[in-house]
Symmetry: C2
Amino acid sequence: MTVVLKLGGSVVTEKARDETVAGDRLADLAETVADSGVDDLVVVHGGGSFGHPHAAEHGVSSTAGTSDAAAVRDIAAAMEDLNEAVVGALADAGVPAVPVHPFSAGFRDEDGKLHLPTGQVAAMLEEDFVPVLHGDVLTTAGDGATIVSGDDLVVSLADGVGADRVGLCSTVSGVLDTDGHVVPEITAFEDAADALGESDATDVTGGMAAKVRALLDLGSPAFVFGPDALEDFLDGDDAGTRIHG
Amino acid sequence: MTVVLKLGGSVVTEKARDETVAGDRLADLAETVADSGVDDLVVVHGGGSFGHPHAAEHGVSSTAGTSDAAAVRDIAAAMEDLNEAVVGALADAGVPAVPVHPFSAGFRDEDGKLHLPTGQVAAMLEEDFVPVLHGDVLTTAGDGATIVSGDDLVVSLADGVGADRVGLCSTVSGVLDTDGHVVPEITAFEDAADALGESDATDVTGGMAAKVRALLDLGSPAFVFGPDALEDFLDGDDAGTRIHG
């Protein structure tokens, strides 16, 4: 069983406080990961209060680039710091976690397509390491460098390593309908269009609608859930919203 | 003009003192790089007193692997620290340097062949960044993780980015003959066999003989020189020993 697990930036950091790791929450999640019986696990985490303030300060987003090497270094360094904390928490819980920095591996081409080699990640899984990637700055043809989100990486990795299950653990319990209840299953975008309540045109920053569309295109089932459901997800049970196109 | 430049570990660190950057020497070299007119430059540095003590402590070499994720994290972290110092020195001199960590990008396969994707490096060059790689720990099929030397990376990068010139800057002034004089040119291994005085059998750690053999196989001329000749090399002049098969 190969699993790609995203830990949202709002889960692993205190989003309201600059460069602050959510230490207790992260330690709990790490214990849950350590206790799971997943054979091959890839972890991806978001930027939270590390990546986002630095990206905003330099005016960099997934679509707005920078040619300033100092900005690239600054964002990359902030994300390396957060990655060290996440890898460290997993290691403290007994997970054989190792760091993988997307800026060192991938790029976007002229058409905006993400190229993320995954041979190294597959090799790490084969050697029983748990690679831990993160949202990052990324060299982008014609645009200097832009931001690659954890969600973008999850989709690319799931394809690359042939994931059996994909999990997105954030602070919400799943995709919510207009009454605030978790939608149990989405098999087509129309199932959730009302609940998501967003058109593609208003969703350039990668909100839930774009996320659902990308997950529907995967070959494997994806789950969107909150921290309390991580154990269920890792046990192979349903958790939060099940998305499978 | 695309140039791959290796700065040896003995040049950028004080080899006799654990985890000590050779700050003044590094600053001088960075100024020389900043003043050069090279269009597309890739820098690689060795491990020196950062990588080697950690690798030795964990019993890891280019041929002896480890399956201990803690050892991998320890060596990778030491090399990230040195890389930050080298990138920082180049940045202080005005070079648009950005960090590239080989552990995040590459691996060795079952046959020991190095797989190092270079699409990201080519994209960085195209965006006028100066990627700075380094000797590192590297996931190795069947063997956990081993060490990849800066020299191995140079050969792989030179092919990958189509380098016009390759430079190896170390503390010696070139390939020396038995009288201690610099051999000006090597076009076949036999030219230097006496001087190198080593058979392949006694050269498993990647000494000068293995280095010369690998450089002879490149499509571009390579130069082995000391720090004083860096300016000549970057100016396109001959420096130290010219190796071209």
